[in-house]
Amino acid sequence: MEITMITLKKSDFGEMVAHARKHLPEEACGLVAGVTEDGVKKIQKVYYLTNTDHSSEHFSLDPREQLDAVRDMRANGYEPFGNWHSHPESPSRPSEEDKRLAYDSSASYLILSLMEPEHPVLNSFHIEGGVSEKEELAIQ
């Protein structure tokens, strides 16, 4: 399978980190959307949704907010690219739970690790059939 290339603006990365830190010890979560140009998924907007689990170990997106976000994407001409969530105390890679609950094989799954507080790490993954594959993510 061809590796997906994704870009995220530095400013959006900064906001994502700030949002995730603000919601510690809970996992933070949301959606990402943007436009595809020359085969590159360019994230134009990061959506910040409520973790309805309010847990430091699990997350679930609020369906109502998810619906609102999808409408906003459509109104702005953005494609839904996938979701993101934070791992407050574990690395930036999909857990077994993440892989088990990744039902949309067309989505990118971004995971932000705050395990090292001063060095947040964000990676993106394709997950299909319980197998994850790292995507090329450029923060620029």
């Binding site: 979560c29 689990d53 369906p63 998810q66 993440d98 609950l101 094989s105």
Partner: protein, 68 residues
């Protein structure tokens, strides 16, 4: 009749059920999809019987969650 599926107008048979639409749209892993009809979330136990009407706006949303 015409309905709007994920923002796109589609022609479907009159009285189509949500379950039939899910099959027609080839929705991946439908057991994990939430369906909204005109901004109201449909109950999954009603998918087989709940029929859609002309002009209905349908969205398919995947459950998104996980754990560290």
């Amino acid at each position: 009749m015409k309905i709007i599926v994920a923002g796109v107008e589609k022609e479907v048979k009159d009285g189509i059920t949500i379950a039939e639409l899910i099959r027609q749209e080839n929705v991946e892993t439908p057991e994990y999809v939430t369906v909204s009809v005109n901004d109201e979330f449909a109950k999954s136990e009603n998918f087989q019987t709940q029929t859609l009407s002309e002009g209905d706006r349908i969205e398919f949303l995947y459950f998104m969650g996980g754990g560290q």
